[in-house]
Amino acid sequence: MHEDRPFREITLQDLERLDPVTLRTARSCANCGRCGGACLARIRDLSPARVLRLLQLGRLDEVLTSRFLWSCIGCRRCSRCCPQELDVAAAVVRLRRLAARHPRATFPKHLLRLLCG
């Protein structure tokens, strides 16, 4: 009777923090998963496909606090193999800008000074 897995309401407010290009990339994604399979830097918590899916569900914070964003090596396999020709790699890089400012970012704080602004 008790619910230990409550339903999570989908709220899209956090997406207002996204720039329009990244938002559009996330919306256009058909969730085929190919970029996820292609990613060389995928670590246990996320993959490019998963990142876009979470954005579609408005779960920006989970994306920004992940370690995956920082493990991306820029090989661009994801963008190259996307059937919708979405620039997934660019979206990941853009998300880093937001992630660096997040209070729970997994980005080493002392390196924050190296980023302008």
């Binding site: 085929c32 998963g33 399979g37 292609a38 995928r42 059937p83």
Partner: protein, 775 residues
């Protein structure tokens, strides 16, 4: 003989009669030149009302009729039937809209409504006076059709037409009939052998005795128009005569082994081939590309029936047909272009179509599920859906049938390998209707594992000698790998190109989809119909349905029935400039032997674009001759609008006129100074009429049509816009305000916004003042 026009006004049970003083109108109309009878009745559409008109016609009191009543869109058949019954030519019957576009819309301005009604009636009389009568044109055709393509769509269409009494010529590029369907192992939904259905179809086709089949034949040229096509055919030599018994002795001795494909084992492919499981025709065929020629001649010597003749040459034929059905089918997308999946490079990677061949008992592995190149038994199969489909780098569209095809093939795998592991990598499973049953069966009964993720690559493990497919399973969020002996790519469909039909309009997918939804089968060039996968990707059942649809459409063209009157050409005025030929969207107008335009009644769709563009107004649809239109326009009294600007509006019958009717029916009110003329398309509006209107003192002219991209005839609105723009430039130079002529567009439901636009136009005219040409 001067015309005897009868003017009949309808009270419409009071709807018209309460606003308009029909007694007065009728009395006035009776005094106009050419009007012999002028009466008003409670309801013209009733039996009594119709009888009034009928009796006048029968007694010879009138020979032309003006009906002032509801919109011409209403009671169309009522008055046409009346005309036919009393022997009145339908072009001598003119409908005047006194209801939807008069009394209903101008209830609050009865005086102005009267002025409008008087003008509209006068316009009708002015148009009818010089009108000519025309009889529908009867075409005689030889009732013969060409079907291009001998697959299931082509065969179905040919059989259907032949049963209807039509002579059919069927051409097929390859040596044998049956197309892709003949090569399938089974088809859904009943999992029977396609050769059974094809056999039944062929038997019925041959029984008609009206189908001439040419295999190894291609269409090299098409000229002409509906009812009169001339087609050039090129027939390649078969090198095998009709005495062939299909014994296969030639196959045994042929020394040539056709180089095996990297994917399928050589099998028994030689330089001579037989028909396989669907023997139509039965005769074998030599493939001259591989054959060593007369220096070898082993097959010639061994043939017991002496059927092989290596001296045969190609043949060129020319036939005349009334219509053409294009059913050239499809090719699988070249899976070799999908680099990461290794087709043609990695052993064991095949396509859906390859698996059909493998599954057949007469296939290279005898129907066993073993890997083609090394005969290793297959214990695990992985299907990859959307291979090269829904992908901007390959085919952007979905071919619709590959999901069902894979699910069907899972059944094949289970039948011969009950313990095999079956994995399906998919993006979406598309099984509409009862094909959902195939999906259920694959999961419940066959135990296939479905992984929702499109694999990035297929790799080869050289140590274990097996394929590895990896993908992101988006449903669980984890990365999965499957090891398999066989990977089947579900590739999409690409239409077969037929060079002679290259210029037919295709959509972004490259298929010939037609003008959806109004004309899905007939292309713009009348008389050519598309069936089967040439039209769009479809499964076998849908191909058959589409072929039957094409046969039905085709029959409507070639039946020897009367058709509507095509545009009339006044040769004494025509200077053969050819603009009508050029602008016709359907290619229905062509030059006859004297160089004058001639319209093919079977191809004409009655849009009137030819009449709209003619600089000399010498081609016109019945009712739109320059005399009739001049009569209509000159009948307008621009000064009768009580200080309001007088506007003449041409409205297209498809969207604009019904939109205004609807606005009136809903009671939307607008000024009664708008006099409307119904045209088949705004492309039919000739600039000369607009000039006449302005020179007669009419203050403004509106041309209202469908929105540019929605014009039913394609280019009507854009042609009207460019003609009006040209006129406006001239008007400007002549110091006449170009704003007096405007093109408006409206959809059929846009009555309100159309009325608002008309009001804005009238306001603008009020500011401009009266037309400089007004007396």
């Amino acid at each position: 003989m001067p015309p005897k026009i009868g003017v009949y006004l309808c009270h419409c049970y009071g709807v018209i009669g309460k606003i308009l003083d029909l007694e007065k109108l009728s009395h006035q109309a009776g005094k106009w030149r050419g009007v012999a009878v002028s009466v008003h009745c409670p309801a013209l559409c009733s039996d009594d009302g119709l009888e009034v008109i009928a009796e006048d016609v029968r007694q010879g009191r009138v020979d032309r009729v003006v009906v002032g009543a509801c919109s011409p869109a209403v009671h169309r058949d009522t008055f046409l039937r009346l005309a036919r019954q009393v022997g009145l030519n339908e072009h001598f019957l003119e409908r005047c809209n006194l209801r939807e576009q008069c009394t209903r819309a101008h209830r609050d301005q009865p005086a102005l409504a009267m002025a409008k009604a008087r003008n509209l009636l006068k316009m009708a009389v002015g148009r009818l006076s010089p009108a000519e009568s025309f009889e529908p044109v009867s075409s005689s055709t030889s009732r013969s059709v060409l079907v291009v393509g001998g697959g299931i769509a082509g065969l179905t269409a040919a059989e259907n037409l032949a049963r209807a009494g039509v002579n059919v010529t069927l051409v097929e590029k390859s040596p044998f009939l049956g197309g892709k369907v003949a090569r399938l192992h089974r088809y859904y939904p009943r999992f029977c052998s396609p050769r059974c259905g094809l056999e039944v179809l062929m038997a019925r086709l041959l029984a008609t005795g009206r189908v001439t089949v040419h295999t190894l034949t291609e269409v090299t040229g098409v000229r002409g128009t509906a009812g009169n096509f001339t087609v050039e055919l090129l027939k390649q030599p078969r090198y095998v005569k009709d005495t062939c018994t299909g014994c296969g002795a030639c196959l045994e001795v042929c020394p040539v082994e056709v180089a095996p494909s990297a994917v399928l084992p050589p099998g028994r492919q030689r330089a001579i081939e037989g028909p396989g499981l669907f023997p139509y025709p039965l005769n074998y065929a030599v493939n001259r590309v591989f054959c060593r020629g007369k220096s070898c001649s082993r097959c010639v010597e061994v043939c017991p029936a002496g059927a092989i003749d290596l001296d045969q040459e190609e043949d060129r034929l020319r036939i005349g047909v009334d219509a053409i059905i294009l059913a050239a089918g499809w090719e699988p997308y070249d899976a070799g272009r999908i680099n990461n999946y290794g087709y043609g490079r990695l052993p064991g990677v095949i396509t859906n179509m390859d698996l059909e061949v493998l599954a057949r008992p007469d296939g290279p592995t005898g129907g066993q599920l073993i890997r083609p190149h090394d005969k290793k038994p297959v214990r695990r199969v992985a299907f990859i859906q959307c291979a090269g489909s829904r992908d901007k780098q390959h085919l952007a569209y979905c071919s619709g049938v590959c999901c069902a095809a894979t699910l069907k093939q899972i059944d094949y795998v289970r039948a011969v390998a009950p313990e095999a592991g079956i994995f399906v990598f998919y993006m979406d499973i598309r099984t509409p209707g009862n094909l959902e049953e195939l999906y259920r069966r694959a999961r419940e009964e066959h135990g296939a594992v479905f992984i929702r993720g499109n694999p990035y690559a297929v790799e080869w493990d050289p140590v274990a000698e097996e394929l590895v497919v990896t993908a992101d399973d988006t449903l669980s969020g984890s990365r999965v790998a499957v090891r398999a002996e066989l990977v089947v790519l579900a590739t999409g469909m690409v239409p077969c190109a037929v060079p002679a039909f290259e210029r037919l309009e295709k959509d972004t997918t490259g298929f010939i989809t037609g003008h959806l939804p109004c004309s899905p089968i007939e292309v713009r060039r009348a008389g050519i119909y598309v069936a089967g996968c040439a039209q769009e990707p479809m499964d076998v059942s849908t191909s058959v349905k589409s072929a039957l649809a094409a046969a039905a459409e085709c029959l409507a063209t070639i039946q020897n029935q009367s058709v509507a009157v095509p545009p009339v050409v006044e040769r004494h005025k025509c200077d053969r400039c050819g603009r009508c030929v050029e602008e016709c969207p359907y290619g229905a107008c062509s030059f006859d032997t004297d160089g004058y335009p001639a319209v093919n009644p079977l191809a004409c769709r009655g849009c009137g674009i030819c009449q709209g563009g003619c600089p000399l107004r010498c081609i016109y649809l019945p009712g739109f001759s320059s005399r009739e239109m001049a009569g209509l326009i000159e009948a307008v009294d621009p000064g009768s609008m009580d200080e309001q600007p007088c506007v003449l509006a041409f409205l297209c019958a498809n969207d604009a006129y019904p939109a205004l009717d609807l606005a009136g029916t809903r009671g939307t009110s607008y000024g009664a100074n708008i006099l409307t003329v119904r045209v088949p398309c705004v492309g039919a509006v000739n600039a000369g009429w607009i000039n006449d209107a302005l020179l007669s003192g009419i203050d403004g002219v509106l041309v209202v049509g469908c929105r540019t991209t929605e014009c039913h005839y394609g280019r009507g609105t854009s042609l009207a816009e460019s003609r009006v723009n040209n006129l406006r430039e001239t008007l400007q130079r002549m110091l006449v305000e170009p704003e007096r002529v405007q093109v408006l567009t409206a959809g059929i439901e846009d009555g309100q916004s159309l009325v608002a636009a008309i009001k804005r136009f009238v306001k603008q005219l009020q500011e401009l003042g009266p037309n400089p040409f007004k007396e």
